[in-house]
C-alpha cells in the first residue's frame, strides 16, 4: 500500500492538494451551513423560550466555537498542504474521518437535535477532546432542554445547577423559573382573594408582569365598583322595599276606600230611586192642587157676588137709617114747638097768678088754677126735655149705625178687593203648580239619569276595585322580588367583602 501511495505521491500531490482544497472548500461550505443552522436554531430557541436572548448568546458561542473550528481546520489544511504531504494520507485517514463525523454531530445539534450520539474517540488528541467536549455540550444542552420541558408542562420545581459562573443559559433558566414562581405565587394569592399583592414588572417588556399589574388593578377597580354596586343595590332595594310596603298599604287603603265609595254610591242610588218615586207622585198631587185651585176660584167668584149683594143691602140700610134720622129730626121740630107752647103756658100761668093776686080775695081760687096750669106747663116742659134727650140718644145711635154701616160697606169693599187678590193669588198658585209639574217631570228625568250614572259609577268602582286588588297582589310580588334583590345585594356585598384590596 505504501508503494502505491509513494508512486502516486508525485502525481497525486496535486490531486491530493486539489482534493484537499475541495474538501476544505466543502468543509468550509459545511461550516457555513452549520452557521446557518445555528442561526435557525437560534430562531427555534427563540420561539420555545420567550427569553431567547440567552439562548441566542449561547448559539453565538456555538458559532464562535464553530469559527474556531474553522480556524483549526484552515490551519490543518495549511499545515497539511504546506508541510506534510506524505503523511497526509495517514493524517487524512486519522483526522478527516472523525472530523466528518463530528461535523455531522454538529449539524444535528445545529438543527436542534441534541439527542444525537457523539462518537467516543478513545484518544487524547484534539479530536478526542473535541469529541468529549461535544459530548459534554450535548449533555448540557439536554439538561437545559429537560428543564425547559418541565417548565413547559408547568412544573416549576426545576433544579438546575449552574455549570459555571458564566453559565448564562443555566442562570437564565434559573431566573426564568424564579420569575415564573414569583408570578405563580402572585396568581395564587389573587386566586385566594388577596388583591393587595404587588407584581413588579421587571422591565417595560415584561408583558406578563405588566399584565398582572393591570389585572390586579382592574380587579381592584372592579371589586370596588362591585362593592359600590352592591351597596347601591342594598340601599336601593331597601328603599324599593319601603316604597313597595307603602304602596301595598296604600293599595289596601285604596281598596277599602273603593269599597266604602261603592257602598256610598249604592246609598246615593237608593236615594235617587226614592227621589224618583216621590217626583213621580208630584204630578198627581199637582193635579189635585189644580182642582183645589179651580174650586177656590169658583168660591172666590161666589164670594164676590155675595159681597156685592151685601153692599147693596148695606146701601139700603144706610138709606133707611138716613130716613129714620130725618124723621127723628121732624120729631125734634115738633117737640121744640111743644116746648115753646109749654113755655108760653108757663108764662101765661105766671101772669094769671099775678092777676089773681091783684084780684085779692076773689082771685084766690083762680090763683090755684093758675098754679096748676103752671105745674102742667112745667111737666110738659120736662117731658119735652126727656123727649129731646131721647132724640139726642136716637141721633147718636143713628150716627153710630151710619158709621157702622159705612164701615161695613168699606169692609165689604175691602173684602171684594181681597177676594179679587185672593183670586189672583189662586191663579198664580195654579201657574206655580203647573211649573211644579214641569219641574217634577224634569226631576224624574234627572233622577233616571242619576240612577244610570250611579250604575256606571258602581261598575267603574268594581273595575277600580279589581285593579286595586291586582295592584295589591302585584305589590306583594314586587315586595318579594325586592326582598330577593335585597338579599342578593347583601350576598354580593359579602362576596365583595371577601376580597381584600
Amino acid at each position: 500500500m505504501k508503494a502505491s501511495i509513494g508512486i502516486k505521491i508525485g502525481g497525486g500531490f496535486a490531486l491530493v492538494a486539489a482534493a484537499l482544497i475541495i474538501i476544505g472548500g466543502l468543509a468550509y461550505m459545511n461550516i457555513k451551513e452549520t452557521l446557518e443552522y445555528a442561526k435557525k436554531a437560534e430562531q427555534a430557541y427563540a420561539v420555545i423560550n420567550k427569553e431567547g436572548d440567552l439562548l441566542k448568546k449561547y448559539t453565538a458561542e456555538i458559532q464562535a466555537n464553530s469559527q474556531s473550528a474553522l480556524v483549526i481546520v484552515t490551519y490543518g489544511i495549511l499545515i497539511v498542504s504546506a508541510a506534510v504531504v506524505l503523511i497526509a494520507f495517514l493524517i487524512i485517514r486519522n483526522i478527516i474521518k472523525p472530523l466528518k463525523d463530528m461535523t455531522k454531530v454538529a449539524a444535528s445539534i445545529a438543527s436542534g437535535d441534541i439527542s444525537v450520539d457523539v462518537p467516543a474517540y478513545n484518544r487524547s488528541d484534539e479530536i478526542g477532546i473535541f469529541a468529549r467536549t461535544m459530548k459534554d455540550m450535548t449533555r448540557y444542552l439536554g439538561k437545559i432542554a429537560d428543564g425547559l420541558k418541565q417548565i413547559a408542562v408547568g412544573d416549576l420545581n426545576v433544579r438546575f445547577t449552574e455549570q459555571s459562573e458564566r453559565d448564562m443559559l443555566g442562570s437564565a433558566l434559573s431566573d426564568m423559573t424564579q420569575y415564573l414562581k414569583m408570578t405563580t405565587e402572585a396568581a395564587y394569592q389573587i386566586a385566594n382573594g388577596d388583591l393587595s399583592v404587588k407584581v413588579k414588572a421587571l422591565s417595560e417588556k415584561d408583558t406578563l408582569g405588566v399584565s398582572f399589574t393591570t389585572m390586579t388593578n382592574n380587579l381592584k377597580k372592579m371589586m370596588e365598583d362591585l362593592g359600590e354596586a352592591a351597596n347601591t343595590i342594598a340601599s336601593t332595594s331597601s328603599e324599593i322595599l319601603a316604597l313597595t310596603t307603602q304602596l301595598a298599604s296604600s293599595s289596601e287603603r285604596t281598596a277599602t276606600s273603593v269599597t266604602e265609595t261603592t257602598t256610598t254610591i249604592e246609598e246615593v242610588k237608593q236615594m235617587a230611586l226614592i227621589v224618583n218615586q216621590k217626583a213621580n207622585s208630584i204630578p198627581e198631587i199637582a193635579k189635585n192642587a189644580q182642582e183645589v185651585t179651580e174650586t177656590g176660584k169658583k168660591s172666590i167668584e161666589e164670594t164676590i157676588t155675595g159681597m156685592n149683594r151685601i153692599r147693596n143691602q148695606m146701601e139700603f140700610i144706610a138709606e133707611s137709617i138716613v130716613k129714620l134720622s130725618e124723621q127723628s129730626q121732624s120729631i125734634g121740630l115738633i117737640i121744640s114747638s111743644v116746648n115753646d107752647l109749654a113755655n108760653q103756658s108757663n108764662l101765661l100761668a105766671v101772669n094769671a097768678s099775678i092777676e089773681a093776686a091783684k084780684a085779692g080775695e076773689h082771685g084766690k081760687g083762680f090763683a090755684v088754677v093758675a098754679q096748676e096750669v103752671r105745674n102742667l106747663a112745667e111737666q110738659s116742659k120736662s117731658a119735652t126735655e126727656q123727649v129731646r134727650n131721647i132724640l139726642n140718644d136716637i141721633q147718636k145711635a143713628i150716627s153710630a149705625a151710619v158709621m157702622a154701616t159705612e164701615q161695613g160697606t168699606k169692609a165689604v169693599e175691602a173684602g171684594v178687593k181681597q177676594s179679587h187678590e185672593t183670586g189672583q193669588s189662586i191663579a198664580m198658585i195654579a201657574e206655580s203648580v203647573n211649573g211644579t209639574v214641569q219641574s217634577a217631570f224634569q226631576i224624574v228625568a234627572s233622577t233616571n239619569e242619576q240612577v244610570a250614572g250611579m250604575d256606571q259609577s258602581a261598575y267603574a268602582m268594581e273595575v277600580i276595585k279589581k285593579a286595586s286588588d291586582q295592584i295589591v297582589l302585584s305589590t306583594r310580588q314586587a315586595e318579594t322580588a325586592t326582598q330577593n334583590l335585597h338579599e342578593m345585594g347583601q350576598k354580593l356585598k359579602q362576596m365583595v367583602e371577601r376580597y381584600n384590596f
Partner: protein, 207 residues
C-alpha cells in the same frame, strides 16, 4: 154660608128678637098715645079734688106776701106781685142811644112802648157769664111803668110776712136801699116800690 156660625166673641144677630122688640115698642107708642078713658078720668078727678081744696090760712091773708120769684145771674130774687103788671117774653128790643148803661132799650108790649132796665148794672152786680135774659118783668105803679130783665121766672109764691127778715147788716150801699127782706131759704125780696119811685131811674132829657 159657614160664616152663619158667626165670628167668635160676637153673638149671632137674633132677628126674631129684634122684630119682637120693634113690634113691642110700636105697640107701646100706640097704647100710650090714646090714654084710656078711665086713666084720663082719674087724673082729672085728682086735679079737681086738688082744686076743690079749701084754703086753710084764709084769715092770715094780710100776713102774706105774693112774690114772683125769678132767676138773675144764678141768683133768685123776688118781687111783690102787686107791683108787677105782667111778665112778657123778650123777643126783640130797640137799643136807645144817649141813655145810661143800665137802660137796655125799649120794647113794644101790645102797642105800649116801655123801657127795659138791666138791674144787674143798676145795682152794680158782677156779671157772671152769659145767661138767658129772655124774660121781661113789667113793673107798674101810678107814676112809672118799665120792665126789668130776668133769666127765667121760677114761680109765684105766697110767703108769710113774719118769715121775711129785714135786710142783712152785711149788705151795704145801693143794694141795701132796694132790699125789702130776705127769707130763710135765701130769697132776696127786692123793694119794687122803691125801684119804681127812684129818681135815678128817670132819664132826664136834658142829661
Amino acid at each position: 154660608m159657614e160664616n152663619k156660625q158667626s165670628l167668635p166673641g160676637k153673638k149671632a144677630i137674633d132677628w126674631e128678637e129684634i122684630r119682637n122688640r120693634i113690634k113691642a115698642s110700636g105697640e107701646f107708642i100706640e097704647h100710650e098715645w090714646k090714654l084710656e078713658a078711665e086713666a084720663r078720668k082719674k087724673i082729672l078727678e085728682a086735679r079737681a079734688a086738688a082744686l076743690a081744696r079749701e084754703m086753710k090760712d084764709e084769715e092770715d091773708v094780710d100776713g102774706h106776701l105774693n112774690v114772683v120769684e125769678f132767676l138773675l145771674s144764678y141768683e133768685t130774687y123776688g118781687l111783690e106781685s102787686v107791683y108787677i103788671g105782667e111778665i112778657y117774653p123778650l123777643e126783640e128790643y130797640t137799643p136807645v142811644p144817649c141813655t145810661p148803661p143800665f137802660v137796655l132799650g125799649i120794647i113794644n108790649v101790645r102797642g105800649k112802648i116801655l123801657s127795659v132796665i138791666d138791674i144787674r148794672k143798676f145795682f152794680e152786680l158782677p156779671e157772671k157769664g152769659l145767661t138767658g135774659l129772655n124774660q121781661v118783668i113789667i113793673l107798674r105803679s101810678d107814676k112809672m111803668e118799665f120792665g126789668i130783665l130776668a133769666d127765667s121766672i121760677t114761680g109765684v109764691r105766697r110767703i108769710p110776712a113774719r118769715e121775711v127778715q129785714p135786710s142783712l147788716p152785711t149788705l151795704t150801699g145801693l143794694r141795701a136801699d132796694y132790699l125789702k127782706g130776705v127769707t130763710k131759704e135765701g130769697l132776696v125780696i127786692l123793694d119794687a116800690d122803691k125801684i119804681l119811685s127812684d129818681p135815678g131811674i128817670i132819664v132826664h132829657e136834658e142829661a
